[in-house]
Amino acid sequence: MLTDLLIDAAKAIVAVLLVLNLATVLLWFERKGSALIQDRVGANRAAIFGIGRRLGVPNLGVTNTFVADPLKMFTKEDFVPDQADRFLHTLAPFLSLFPVLVTFAVVPFGDRLIVGSRVIDLQVCQLDVGVLYLLAVLGIGIYGAALGGWASNNRWALLGGVRASAQMISYELAMGLAIIAVVMTFGTLDLQEICRRQGGAWFGWLPKWGIIYQPLAFLLLLTAGIAESKRIPFDMPEGESELIAGYFTEYSGGKQAAFMLTDFAEVVLVSALVATFFFGGWQVPYLYPEGFRLPGIGSVLLPNLVVAVLGVLAFGLKVVFFCWLQILVRWTLPRFRYDQLMYLGWKILLPLGLINLAATAVVIVAVAS
């Protein structure tokens, strides 16, 4: 009993720490990555007593991102504007960060791990209706941005909040439709089960990943996901040339850090969802619970521990890859106009999602009969 509780607690802590750390690393990834894309040098100044230079290590901006910036951010004045709604102003950043973090409870990060007679499912919470939980929690996330904008008593912040909530509610539809198509394909709402059903291979060599069943849904989910995280090219809610900084214009210090962390945690979340639904989650091609079975070469037997660790590593690799893809998109595309955003969401993505859903249904019935 107590051991189970401890294992659950450990899984939860590991998942949250992984997400938070990956989100922070992404901050650095984005600074140096954008520098790479734009042929700049990027952050390379801050150093601690010049230790790196004396040792001959090139300054990669690590100190900037992980020491100097957080230090600066958290020692700033926590500013609340005059006549702002103090309660909501304080609540909003946490209302924004919390839903994103708890979503990871249902995202599986590995297969079963067998320790002695105990089988540990590498997922924080096994939930039969995991997809519904996901959508419900993401729905709460809207209020963070919306109320943050409203409580600041600033018209640009309010405009940013309105834009953010309208955008998120619009793209949640496309996201939901894409996810429902996947759910129909695999016939379950449990994310761990969705991963399991992506195991195996066709013709002995083509992995049965979701992308092969649902290529359109993949594009829909990725697009809607980037829009949900409010990043370029969908960053009208914080468009700095129009709205100063959008819904977090009036935030400073730790509260603004919470908003920023939300952005990066959402990037990680979208990557994790795309990897889970379309790229087999923790599945490694040709890796089965008993070991590798390579087509035309033969098989290698592996102990359970190695298989589980390989799965976790594969999931991490896929997540990092999609994080990088999103950073690439962010620094490559220009910003949409607001009407273009609504046009894309309602007149392109939504009909495509519906057509995809109908086609999926027809194929499923045709295959079954």
Partner: protein, 185 residues
Amino acid sequence: MEVGVFAFFAVLAVVSALGVVLQRSPVHSLLALVATLLAISALLIGLGAVAIGFLLAIVYVGAIVVVFLFVIWLLNLQRDPGEPGHLAAKFFGAFAVAALTAELFAFFVRAPVGPPPAPAGYGSVDRLADLIFRDYLVAFEATSLLLLVAVVGAVAVARRWPADQPRRSGAGASAHGELRRAERA
């Protein structure tokens, strides 16, 4: 659901429902409404209606209440300075509410005690879908028609017709039309 957990969510639901009614600022009322709905959906999940509990959170918290928020913003409602209202209406209103409460309580306290253990698969999506798409199919199709009519009606009622206003602000009006459609989620 254990009694302690039930008590927690029950108190949360009652306190936040009181918040909906008593808060002066509509946005605070709205936040209290969100808390009430989340507490109720947690209670539904505790009763074994897992799918419907999450659906309640998705539909109400994720869509309907956001539209309330938009209307509050659109009307630019700030803190209520205090409502005049008729004292008599309030008095008789409170009286009627007290009578209703007493009646409901008297009625419900005698309800069967202790739910039977839930059968396997109770409240699962399979069971729910089976009922909706078999026994309640006509009602289901009728609600989809109702939603369609409601969406068209809402757009028709809330729209600024060209005759009312010669120039309408493009962004606001179109975003608003989109919101109505978001209802269908």
